[in-house]
Symmetry: C2
Subunit: 302 residues, 2 copies
C-alpha cells in the first residue's frame, strides 16, 4: 500500500496580470498548487508533464516538500504548458490572453507501478479524458477527489459526466455548478450533481465559504477572511490539495473529518491568494495553517 496522495494535474508557467501587478513565467498549474498544499499534511506524488524549459529550481522546490516526482514526465520535445491571463472586475472574471499547450498537447498520464495502489487520489483540474485514464490505471483507490473548470464543462461535458459517478468527492465552484446543472441555487444544483453520481459534492463560493453535500447531510464552512487578495490563481487547486491531504493524513474520510478538512482547505487557499504563484505555500508552513484554522473556528462557531 502507498499512502501518498496521488495528484494528477497540469504543471504550467503562467503570465498573470491582476490589478496589483503583472508577473511572468511563474510556476503554476493545478498539480503544482495542489501537491504543495497537500504536502503540508501528507506526502504527495505528482502525475504530470513538464517540458525542456522546466526550471531546476522548481524541481527543487517540489522536492523540498517531499513531493514524489517519479510520475512527473519530462518531455524534452517541447516547452512546459504556458498560460497567460488577466483578472478583471476585481477578480470576479478572468480572461485568457494566450495558451501554449506545448508538451501538454500529447500528454498521456502513465502511472508507475509504485503508484498504482494509491488509496487517495486527486484528479485536479485537467481534461476529464485524462482524469478517466488515470482512474483506469488505479487498482483500488479508496477515496477519489475530482476537480474541474468551466472549460471542460463547456467542451468535454460528456467525458466529465462519465467521470463523476466514479468519484467520492467532486469539488467545484458555484459558477461551475450552475454551468453544469443550469441551476443557480447551490442546494438544488448539489442535488442534481449527486443524482449524476458523485458520492459527495463540495461547492465553493470564493470569499463566501463552501458547502459540502452528501445525500443525507450538508455542512456550511466559512472562508478564511483575506484582506489583500493579490492573485486568485491556484486557490481552488490549493483547496482541493489541502482537503485531500488532510483526509489522507487522518486516514479517515468520514463526513465529520471532511467538515474539519474544509477549514484546513480554506485556510490553505487563503494563503495561496495572498501572493502570486505558489510563493505563500513555499514561505508559510503548517503552523500558519493551524493558526488560521484556530482563528476561523473562533470567529465562526458559536
Amino acid at each position: 500500500m502507498n499512502n501518498k496522495v496521488l495528484v494528477l494535474g497540469s504543471v504550467a508557467y503562467d503570465n498573470i496580470e491582476t490589478r496589483y501587478a503583472k508577473e511572468n513565467n511563474i510556476l503554476g498549474g493545478s498539480a503544482s498548487y495542489a501537491s504543495l498544499a497537500c504536502s503540508y499534511f501528507n506526502p504527495a506524488a505528482m502525475l504530470g508533464v513538464v517540458g525542456k524549459d522546466f526550471n531546476p529550481k522548481d524541481i527543487e522546490l517540489l522536492k523540498s516538500r517531499d513531493i514524489d516526482l517519479s510520475a512527473l514526465q519530462i518531455d524534452e520535445s517541447g516547452d512546459t504548458f504556458f498560460w497567460s491571463g488577466k483578472y478583471l472586475d476585481n477578480f470576479n472574471r478572468r480572461e485568457t490572453l494566450e495558451v501554449q499547450l506545448n508538451v501538454f498537447e500529447h500528454f498521456n498520464p502513465i502511472l508507475p507501478d509504485s503508484l498504482k495502489a494509491s488509496k487517495y487520489v486527486l484528479l485536479a483540474n485537467i481534461s476529464p479524458a485524462l482524469q478517466n485514464s488515470c482512474l483506469e490505471q488505479l487498482e483500488n483507490p479508496e477515496f477519489v477527489v475530482l476537480d474541474t473548470m468551466d472549460l471542460w464543462i463547456n467542451i468535454a461535458r460528456e467525458d466529465l459526466l462519465n467521470v463523476m459517478p466514479k468519484v467520492d468527492l467532486f469539488i467545484l465552484n458555484d459558477s461551475e455548478s450552475e454551468l453544469l446543472t443550469a441551476e443557480e441555487n447551490i442546494f438544488i444544483a448539489a442535488e442534481k450533481i449527486l443524482e449524476i453520481g458523485a458520492k459527495s459534492v463540495l461547492i465553493k463560493k470564493g470569499e463566501h465559504g463552501s458547502v459540502l453535500f452528501t445525500k443525507d447531510d450538508i455542512f456550511i464552512a466559512p472562508s478564511f477572511p483575506v484582506k489583500e487578495l493579490k492573485d486568485p490563481t491556484g486557490a481552488g487547486d490549493s483547496y482541493a490539495g489541502a482537503m485531500l491531504g488532510y483526509l489522507a493524513a487522518k486516514g479517515d474520510t468520514s463526513f465529520e473529518t471532511m467538515k474539519k478538512a474544509m477549514y484546513y482547505a480554506s485556510a490553505t487557499a487563503s494563503m495561496t491568494v495572498e501572493d502570486f504563484s505558489c510563493r505563500q505555500l513555499e514561505k508559510l508552513g503548517l503552523e500558519e495553517v493551524e493558526n488560521r484554522v484556530a482563528r476561523l473556528i473562533k470567529i465562526s462557531n458559536l
Copy 2:
C-alpha cells in the same frame, strides 16, 4: 422602564412582482416586518404612520402579535405609503416602478411619553432625518440598532453619517456597505464604518451569511438555506427585528449574545422570503425559528 422594543419605520402597501408571481396591495414596510419578527422574541412598539385606507385586518394582525400601536399614527388625510417594485435577475436587483408617499410625506414621528424611556430601539429603514428625530426624543436608550438602504446613502448621506455615531449596531448589506465606503472588501468597509462611529456593524451578504464587526472582534454567521425564495422584500427588516428582539428578550447585548442573535435573525429572515408579504411571519411561530436555529447550528458548526 419599558422593555418593549421600539421600532421606527415605514408601514406600506406594496405591489410586488417576482418571477414566481405578482401580488398587489400587500402589507409591507420596514416597521411591519421588523415588528412582527421582533414579536417572536420580545414585545414591540411600532412608531409609524398609516393612512385612511389602512385595512383593519392589518391592525388586527399586528395586535394579535401584541405589538403596541400607541405610537402608530393614523392620518385620515391620505392613503398609506405605497411602493411598487419588480425583482430582476433572480432577485439580485430590484426596480422601483412606482412610489406614492401619501401620508408618509409629512410624517413626523412623535414618541408618546410612555415610550420615551425605551431601552431597545430599532431605527428600521426610513430617512435618516426621521431616525435622528426619533433618537432625540428618547431619554436614555441602552441599545440602538440602525438599518438603512441604498436610497438614503445616495440622497441623504450627510444625515446618515450624523446618525451612525449615535448607534450601537448598524446593520446593512454588502452592496450598501460598498456604496457607503467605496470599498468592496467587507472587512475593510467595516473598519471604515466603525471609524465613522457605529459601535458595531453587521454586514449581510444575503444567502452567503453575515459578518458582525466591533473594534476588537468579528463573527461570521451563515444564512439559513432557502430552497424556494419567493419574495425577498422584508428580509433585512425581519433580520433586524429578530436580532434586536432576541437581544431585548435576553436583556443582554454582549458580543456573545449578538453572535447567537445572528442565528435567530437569519432563521427568521429565511421564513419571510418563503412567501410574499409578512405571511410566513404570521403563519409560522417561534418553534419554527428554534428548529431552524438548531438546524443551522448543526450544519455549520464543527
